[in-house]
């Protein structure tokens, strides 16, 4: 069985307070009022930028990351050493062209890569927040991003782009800061988290909390790690990012380094070995409490509920140009979820494009080599750039 490359624990740990890349600090005079009703101050946002902001400050694109992503969207990850998670999409000459646009990516609030989250040190106690951090919502994440964008001197984002939970942030931006969003690309996402998705998240959270090393959330202070629980959470979640067809194509019923079953609970099948590897690799880089907070933020997400039950009302009168994208084999955020967004945008009279891309790779398709997604992204941004007067 393949083993995850061992990453020294303190490498991931130190990112929580002292991340690679840029950090914006917000002091007691700039509190973030959370949906939970609590003011968070001080707090910090870790982010990366690529490309150059033009003189008119009109070419900024905010890229929003998914559940376990981070701000290192197009540069080497300081923990894993791997290239950026959307390197294939963002860079010079790529669909999100950094020769042309100024790209910003922040670590979300509640994350563990430098933006304030449960693994960050609480300045009041000198100890990690753990569960003493108030619960975070997607609107909270977006409010924090908006504070950063304002500090960077940008009034209007040329575009907000993201997939999965990143797409939720895109929709929230468009609903909450409509005049500050010229165009928006919500990809493989939904305007509310489904019961099935909440259920999957609950399985993951229970796996973490059932690990005795979790210590009621105080594992960082007590020097333990709920690695087994977090690995199981990741394994279960990882299945939802793929598809039956993709798993079958990749592994089928093939055995791992053996010709016959061992009549044991060892990882006989390649698919088991693969999932174990995914779980082990994940715990090296991700904080278990962060996983609890960020999954919870997704569960609470329901834009329509915040607008009297009407999704169309959330977008009424919007002038933002939208490009909604889904993938045929994505059963975590199926096309029906995207179509619901599109119908609401149509009802709101918005300018909207919607493409469903054929892929058997499941939810993860948006992160992979998807030429159609690249062509659509390039075309949509080109046409929006013409309308915005960006050279």
């Amino acid at each position: 069985m393949a083993r995850a490359r061992r990453i020294p624990d303190d490498l991931a740990r130190q990112q929580a307070d002292q991340p690679a890349g840029e950090v914006a600090h917000f002091g007691a005079d700039e509190p973030l009022v959370l949906d939970a009703g609590i003011s968070l101050a001080p707090f910090q946002i870790a982010y990366r930028t690529y490309g150059t902001l033009n003189a008119e400050r009109s070419n900024a694109i905010l890229v929003c990351h998914a559940l376990t992503g981070d701000q290192h969207v197009a540069s080497q990850n300081p923990v894993t050493g791997k290239s950026g998670w959307w390197d294939i999409m963002i860079g010079p000459g790529k669909p999100i062209d950094t020769d042309r646009y100024f790209v910003i990516c922040t670590n979300v609030l509640g994350g563990c890569m430098g933006t304030t989250g449960p693994a960050s040190t609480d300045p009041a106690t000198g100890q990690p927040y753990g569960l003493s951090l108030p619960l975070i919502t997607i609107p909270d994440m977006v409010r924090a991003q908006a504070m950063l964008v304002k500090r960077l001197g940008i009034d209007t984002l040329f575009s907000v782009v993201g997939g999965s939970m990143g797409g939720m942030q895109v929709l929230q931006w468009a609903a909450q800061y409509r005049d500050a969003v010229f165009s928006a690309m919500p990809i493989a996402t939904a305007a509310r988290h489904s019961a099935q998705n909440i259920a999957f998240h609950e399985v993951g959270r229970q796996a973490i909390m059932a690990d005795p090393e979790w210590r009621g959330g105080r594992y960082l202070a007590e020097g333990t790690r709920p690695s087994a629980g977090l690995a199981v959470a990741r394994m279960a979640a990882h299945i939802t990012y793929l598809s039956d067809a993709a798993l079958h194509r990749k592994f089928g019923r093939r055995f791992q380094d053996r010709d016959a079953p061992t009549f044991s609970f060892d990882a006989d099948f390649q698919v088991e070995s693969y999932l174990r590897y995914q779980g082990e690799a994940f715990v090296e880089r991700f904080d278990a409490n962060s996983y609890l907070y960020v999954t919870r933020a997704m569960d609470y997400f329901d834009i329509a509920a915040d607008h009297g039950g009407s999704l169309a009302r959330a977008f009424a009168g919007t002038r933002t140009r939208f490009c909604v994208v889904s993938f045929t084999s994505d059963w975590l955020f199926p096309t029906a979820d995207s179509r619901q967004v599109v119908h609401a945008l149509n009802a709101a009279g918005a300018s909207v494009s919607f493409a469903e891309i054929t892929s058997d790779k499941g939810h993860d398709a948006f992160l992979l080599d998807a030429p159609e997604l690249f062509a659509i992204t390039r075309g949509f941004l080109d046409s929006a750039a013409r309308a915005r007067g960006i050279a």
């Binding site: 140009r321 490009c323 909604v324 179509r339 599109v342 119908h343 149509n346 009802a347 009279g349 300018s351 909207v352 494009s353 919607f354 493409a355 469903e356 891309i357 054929t358 159609e372 062509a375 659509i376 390039r378 075309g379 949509f380 080109d382 046409s383 929006a384 013409r386």
Partner: protein, 213 residues
């Protein structure tokens, strides 16, 4: 809503019915093209008339091509998705060479006139003499260059003739603001001819409709 336009990947001369439709559109209008195929008409209207154009297309290939061209097009179905648009959202709603592929043409037409102040519909005329001749002499479902499908694989499930269409327009109390019939070579059939003449010699027709008979 799958139209023959989605097959035409190679840019060629602009289709005759598109030119007729384009002439019927006021510059700067808000336009919805239902069944917009590869977006050729939307592009023509954007470039020539400066319209604020949107599209709906059933085929994924067509949609992806449109969006990559920067057109605001959604993947969708005339039969199910028009219901989600509010009243008076557009100046004109266009349905070109697609009504015969819808499941409920009457409902689609009613939605078009609800969503838009005006509707433009172009369709192949099944009353054209060549099709009548084929049916009479060969006793088989007619095919033509524009209608190349067999009966069992055609997306076109609701063919009509020009006279049938005019009857439907009357049934839904719409007014005909303009009508044109084009012959097989894309030329206009004699303008002041009676319906029966158009119905025989028009290979396709373009109608501009508005609410209220």
């Amino acid at each position: 809503m799958t139209s023959d336009r989605t097959m035409a990947a190679v840019p060629g001369p602009i289709r005759a019915d598109y030119l007729v439709v384009s002439r019927l559109i006021e510059p700067g209008s808000r336009v919805l093209d239902v069944g917009c195929g590869d977006g050729a008409l939307l592009k023509l209207l954007r470039d020539e008339k400066g319209v604020d154009g949107r599209g709906i297309e059933l085929s994924r290939e067509g949609v992806n091509r449109c969006v990559a061209e920067g057109l605001a097009v959604i993947q969708g179905d005339a039969d199910t998705d028009l219901a989600f648009y509010p009243d008076n959202a557009f100046d004109v709603v266009i349905l070109s060479q697609t009504i015969q592929a819808t499941r409920a043409p009457r409902v689609v037409l009613e939605h078009m006139l609800r969503i838009g102040r005006q509707a433009i519909v172009s369709f192949p005329n099944f009353g054209h003499w060549r099709l009548r001749y084929q049916l009479v002499t060969r006793g088989r479902m007619p095919t033509s260059e524009n209608l190349p499908y067999h009966w069992y694989d055609t997306p076109n499930i609701h063919f009509c003739t020009i006279r049938d269409f005019v009857d439907l327009v009357r049934d839904i109390d719409a007014a005909i603001d303009h009508s044109t019939a084009l012959d097989a070579s894309g030329r206009q059939v004699r303008v002041n001819a009676p319906w029966w003449f158009w119905n025989l010699f028009g290979e396709q027709a373009v109608f501009k409709l508005s609410r209220g008979g």
